[in-house]
């Protein structure tokens, strides 16, 4: 028999010694290893003709060692013999020889019997053509009586079952940082197969920039280290992982590493932070808009009053008109702020979103002839409950932005479809179940970078030159869509255009009347109005305005005074113009008290905030109307007239 190169891997020195003696005596070259990892080290530059591998070994057991070896091209022709006391039992039990991938199996037992089988195998391995088919079990009849019960095996499988089914990845690593055990979660987290993970360096599976830190961490060998946390996770296979390293005291500086996938959790955290930020800014924006609207009301009223006494030939007439115009612009700005803060005027009815798209795209198309508009509107589109003006504002905003992104020439694609909540991206939202209408506005423009995309809905964020944009357009779009119970998203890539997607909750169609159209001339009245507002400027200018058109005016600077005045003059007062937000006693409470005194009282609410929330509630309780500050002369007189004429 020619000399063979042989590797024996077994954790018992006695077995190694015996095998060495037996085989060297017959002129073979024998190398030995006490565990799987050292066996692999030897195999780096030693190609054995035959390998004897023990099944139970520390640092990569025999079964896994076989699996790894079978995938090493250099060892294609090596003959693998599994050598184990457990072999026969487990093999009998599981009858799954293919899983171990050896060419033959020798049951451990007394040396004389084993020796014979080993020498027999040596002869046989000459004719070997390793095919990967399961080998035979030799020496079964010689094994000492051992009635390993099924329970024993199942007890072992129980703990194995736990390891294989937990969500956390578990890896055992030797003192030189090489991996000797992985569970299936670790395999799927890393995206690397078990055979490749085993015996490879733990540190090297991670992203380059983190290797230094990991190496230092392993070397420090401190107990229960959790250095890669949710806030500074380890990067592996495109995932963000929390790492916990537990050094094992007893087993020669080995460590257990627990890997937890925190990618989703982090996404959720970002969602929450984003929502909180938007809320905070919204509250702030709403507050500012409210104050501002009071000021604008004063300016508007004063200008209107002066205009009443000014003939159009007067040189000041044009200036006063300009002031009115600028107040209108200012009011548009605050209404955008309120839109973002979800505080804007909000008149909801069921509408077909296709109609909104048609209206707005027609308007837009007339002003921007350089942009080709393509529409793809679903025929059977769901209805939505929405404030037509606000949604149109959102759409126009998107069109204008799109046009700005494609100077000179470009195409705008508008698409509507019915979707369900499952179709809404979950990156930023957790959509409520139900049907939605999806409106998509796509341009062929410059697109934007990731950095810009992330901040695109932030108030006052703008990429336009100073003076070109307020940074409020998309922020108010965001607020408006949110206030409608919907969602807005953007997809974009630098150089590839942008696509804004709006999702509005669908409703069953109930189309209401659009309301009565009122003549536009000033409506003169001769009734008495109680004017309640804590802002002196608003009070003064409203009083003068209303007196100019013939009303008698009583005023009150707060809720308490309002009730006193009403008590005194309840028979003369035809209408109360009531501010919503006042110190001490707010409009809501005043309204209830007035109603107690006189169930037939007529009240027109006014506010720099919106009809949302509290105001809506009061209107629902029977209040006659609502007017948003800053109100124009015309709006106010129309609204008052409408209420006074009702029920007469």
């Amino acid at each position: 028999m020619e000399m063979k190169k042989i590797l024996v891997a077994d954790n018992h020195p006695l077995m190694l010694k015996y095998m060495t003696n037996l085989l060297e005596k017959r002129g073979h070259e024998v190398l030995t290893a006490q565990d799987g990892l050292s066996a692999l080290d030897i195999l780096n530059d030693f190609i054995p003709d035959i390998m004897f591998i023990d099944l139970i070994m520390p640092n990569i057991d025999g079964k896994k060692l076989c699996k790894i070896v079978r995938r090493m091209p250099a060892l294609k022709h090596s003959y693998i013999v599994v050598l184990s006391a457990i072999a026969a039992e487990e093999l009998e039990e599981t009858a799954n020889l293919a899983e171990i991938e050896a060419d033959a199996y020798i049951a451990k037992g007394p040396f004389d019997k084993m020796g014979k089988h080993i020498l027999a195998i040596l002869n046989r391995s000459d004719q070997k053509a390793s095919t990967g088919h399961p080998g035979e079990i030799i020496g079964l009849e010689d094994i000492h009586s051992r009635q390993i019960t099924k329970e024993l095996l199942s007890a072992r499988r129980h703990s194995k079952g736990i390891m294989e089914n937990i969500d956390e990845g578990i890896m055992e690593i030797a003192c030189d940082a090489r991996i000797v055990y992985v569970n299936s979660a670790a395999v799927s987290l890393s995206g690397i197969s078990e055979e490749k993970l085993l015996a490879s360096n733990f540190v090297n599976i991670f992203h380059e920039i983190q290797r230094q830190e990991l190496r230092a961490l392993l070397e420090s060998n401190k107990p229960s280290l959790q250095v890669f946390t949710k806030d500074s996770p380890a990067l592996l296979n495109g995932k963000e992982l929390e790492l916990r390293i537990l050094p094992l005291k007893e087993e020669g500086r080995k460590s257990i590493v627990i890997l937890k996938d925190v990618t989703e959790e982090k996404k959720r955290d970002v969602q929450i932070q984003r929502a909180l930020k938007m809320e905070t800014i919204g509250t702030l924006a709403g507050g500012i808009a409210h104050e501002f609207n009071n000021l604008l009301t004063g300016i508007q009223g004063n200008a209107s009053l002066m205009l009443l006494n000014t003939v159009s030939a007067d040189p000041d007439y044009k200036r006063l008109k300009n002031i009115e115009k600028m107040v209108q612009d200012g009011s548009t700005l605050t209404s955008q702020l309120l839109g973002y803060a979800r505080e804007g005027k909000y008149q909801v009815r069921s509408i077909n979103p296709n109609k909104l798209v048609e209206n707005t795209s027609d308007t837009f198309g007339r002003t921007r002839k350089d942009i080709a508009v393509h529409k793809e509107l679903a025929g059977d589109l769901f209805m939505v409950e929405a404030d037509q003006g606000q949604i149109e504002q959102v759409l126009l905003n998107l069109y204008v932005n799109a046009a700005d992104a494609m100077p000179g020439v470009g195409s705008l694609f508008l698409k509507t479809t019915n979707v369900t909540y499952k179709d809404i991206g979950t990156e930023h939202h957790r959509p409520k179940p139900g049907n939605y209408v999806k409106l998509v506005v796509t341009d062929t423009g410059n697109g934007m970078e990731e950095k810009t995309r992330k901040r695109i809905f932030d108030p006052f964020f703008t990429t336009k030159e100073i003076g070109q944009g307020t940074g409020l357009g998309l922020a108010s779009a965001y607020g408006i869509i949110k206030a409608h119970g919907g969602y807005i998203d953007v997809e974009s890539e630098k150089g590839k255009g942008s696509s804004f997607k709006i999702y509005l909750p669908a409703v069953k169609a109930v189309v209401r009347d659009q309301g009565t159209v009122i003549r536009e001339e000033h409506l003169m009245g001769h009734k008495t109005i109680l004017l309640v507002d804590d802002e002196e400027s608003v009070r003064e200018v409203s009083q003068e305005l209303l007196e100019t058109i013939g009303y008698n005016i009583l005023t009150a600077k707060d809720g308490k005074e309002a009730l006193e005045v009403y008590k005194k003059y309840r028979d003369t007062i035809d209408l109360v113009l009531l501010d919503m937000v006042m110190p001490n006693m707010g409009g809501s409470k005043v309204y209830d008290r007035l109603k107690e005194m006189n169930p037939g009282v007529k009240v027109l609410l006014s506010s720099g905030y919106s009809i949302n929330g509290e105001a809506t509630e009061i209107v629902a309780r029977g209040c006659n109307g609502f007017i948003q500050k800053p109100f124009s002369f015309k709006d106010l007189s129309q609204e008052i007239k409408k209420i006074l004429n009702n029920g007469q």
Binding site: L14, N21, K108, G109, F111, D112, M114, H144, E151, R156
Partner: protein, 112 residues
């Protein structure tokens, strides 16, 4: 029974046999240490590992009695029990010492 016979039973030369027995007693001693501390700590897994090693080696060399005792400890440990283990460990120790004094009278690798 003389050493030569024992060696032949297992298909080995006397010298090689003694060499292996010495290795067996040495590793057996360290396994016994591990077994003892595992019993003190009530660590079933460590008991199983140490007894597995003793079981295998004694089986290889044909030390039937040691094999049976080690197997008993191992089987119990695999079932999660350490009930009879301290007594069995005592028996194991005595048997190992007996082999050491019989086969390796010139050395003093005894287990305390």
């Amino acid at each position: 029974m003389n050493i030569k016979e024992l060696a032949e039973n297992i298909g080995l030369e006397k010298e090689e046999y003694l060499e292996l027995v010495e290795l067996f007693v040495e590793t057996g001693k360290s396994d016994m240490d591990k077994l003892q501390s595992a019993i003190d700590e009530k660590n079933v897994e460590k008991v199983a590992t140490a007894s597995h090693s003793l079981k295998g080696a004694s089986g290889n060399l044909g030390f039937e009695e040691i094999f049976e005792v080690a197997k008993k400890i191992n089987d119990e440990a695999l079932e999660g029990s350490l009930k009879g283990t301290p007594e069995s460990a005592q028996v194991l120790k005595e048997k190992l010492n007996a082999i050491a004094s019989l086969l390796l009278p010139d050395t003093n690798i005894y287990i305390k």
